[in-house]
Amino acid sequence: MKSLSEIETTSKRASRAAGFSWGVAEEVGKCIRLLELFGFPGIKNLNQYYQNRNDEIFEDLNLINQSNKSNKSNFCPITLGVSFLDQIRTLEKLKKCTFEGIAFPILLLPFLSRSSEIIGKKILFKFDENSFLINLNVNISSNLYLKEFPSKAKNVEISFLENEDTFSNDDWKSLYKLSENTFVEETDSLKQGAAGAGLTDND
């Protein structure tokens, strides 16, 4: 088994060899490490993407807008990922952005995951029939786990989820009521003697 340290170093060096700057290569190293840590096939897809770059041209998206459409070729997931990470504080304000044509969308995942941690919000990443809930760089839920990842995503939507409860108020009240069964009903004597602070705060 390869260690994450080996995965990071090799991904970084390969990215530099594939033509990215050292700074971007460092980002890719961290991201592939993260993908593998989360159990996604990072090395396999990075390798395939770099092999494809020998024959295919990919478009660099450096400045991300609300709606982003590639011209003839698909967007490079690395350049897009770095741009997304760098511009995350601006993008967050858009609530949602869309992309048409991203190569190897799995390679964008770790950039979104790190972005989610920076803004402190979950990110929903959907393309074609697939969806990923990216949770503050702590975990990623997906309906694609253990399946073959597509080498391109046609229609992509990325939404920033507000920090809201995932449950109803009634659910909360009901559970809270149950939790109260661990509390002791206070008698007058307990009210007088069991609290640390005084009963009045007017002195």
Binding site: E6, W22, K30, Q87
Partner: protein, 551 residues
Amino acid sequence: MNIKLRDPNIIMKLSRLGSFHQSKLSFLRSFLKEFKDWQYQRDLFDLDKNGFGVAVYSFKKKERIYSLICFANEISDDERSDRVIATKWDAAFTLHDGVPSKNDIQRLKNEVPKQEVGRLSYKELTLSRANKSVRVFDHVVDNLSKGMQPDINLLEKVGYLYRTTAVYGSGKFGLADRFRIKNREEINGPFRLEMMLVYLVRQFTFDQVNHVAKHKNPKKAVQLDPKICKNLGIGNSTGLGMAPFIVNHPTLLNNWILCRETALKKIREIKHVASKDKDLFKNCIRNSIKNITSWNTESEYQLKKINLLLKNIRKFVKFLDDKFDFEQDYPFNEIYLWLEKETCEECIEYVVSIMMEPYNEIIEPLIRKMSSEEERYFNIPTNRTVEELRNIIEKKYPNILTINFEKKQNFKKFWFISKNKEEPRLADRFEEQGSNLEQPLAIARDIKELHNKLLESNNSLTIDKFLINNSNLRHVVRRAFIIEKFPYSEIQDNTISESIVPIDMLRLKLSFFGALKFDPRSDKWLRICMFQGAPLPNELKNYDEQWVYNS
């Protein structure tokens, strides 16, 4: 009195970093302290009459066990090389997490001797190999087998029976990644497990030499005197492999230096020094002189430094004896100011290390701050502006900005990774091929280029926009934001100049390891000794903390 931390623009110069010495903060000393109440044991010693075979040593506390597995092999003299590029060694070692099963030992027997081309697992923590100092090892075997102790002068001159050429950890060759074990309290300090490996290897070398001598002459052989053992360490040959580490781990480097600087600041701020602390300091200074006089090297560069150090230390001892009054307020501050004025860099840093000896209460909390959660500082704060970044650079890299990188001598060298051994190398870019594959270790040059670009950019431009057209400078943009928070994270020198002395970078790291007697063999590699004078495993429960000076 509030003493300021020393200026990174002075301390982080290579000549200063290359003058650092071991101290109480050093990893091998903090390792001994941490593991002194662990249960040491030799679990297996299955060597043949020539000393070849398998041995296992362990440290145990409660449910935690670390086991060193040693494989001693027969190699011919022409296969024995000091360099990292060798492929066979007299012995190979791994530190296993827990008690190794028979299957583990069998698996490791196939992999550990192969070192870089072998594969380890997450159950192994560190990996190393070592060669005999054949002359010394054979001499010791011969004498012990005749019932005599070996020639002390010869042993003192060399200082060890074996020397290692590399100690690997943190995920190399399949070893456990640091994140798997980082929350263990006993290894909350850098390189603890690497230190454990070297320490246990030292014991193996004594056991092996005794074993071979005994089999050579079972009736007459005697054991190596424990006092002699104590004064033997483990040698180490170190090349450029260590140099990129300190550039590639800026927050870790900062934490090491910051702890040293904080210790010095706190010691200088002590108003009244207790008599016992004064005596301990003075004794260590005096006793340490023999570490200098017994420091052997053929390197002219190092000999000059040693001679100057010796001269300066003697001058300092005379000053302490004849003129200095420890009863005055803030005596260590006075000493420091005198050193700055009267002595060389090597001497200043030597005495700074010894100043720490009396002060466990200052040093111990700092030792726990010497690791780094590097990932936390990796992201670039891209919402900051060009103006802010430029201000950081001008404030934090003032000397580097004065270097003229148009001049050939200032960018003559380049760092690269060799294809054969995947090891870092340094070469002349005007004479050798390969500079197009240069590693990102020319920080001074790239910071200067970044600064020039920032001067041409709009002040209010945010970094995310700046990076769109300056991706080639992304690695130094990251570093500049790191140095804003971590003042000692950067070498304030030119690592590609014609005059660079790479062993200064190695010495910095080795001093934090706790190495003694740096012996440069060229400007690119050196030999050192570790654990010379350190307590033996069976003495750990109650040992002299100042063993470095008193042995």
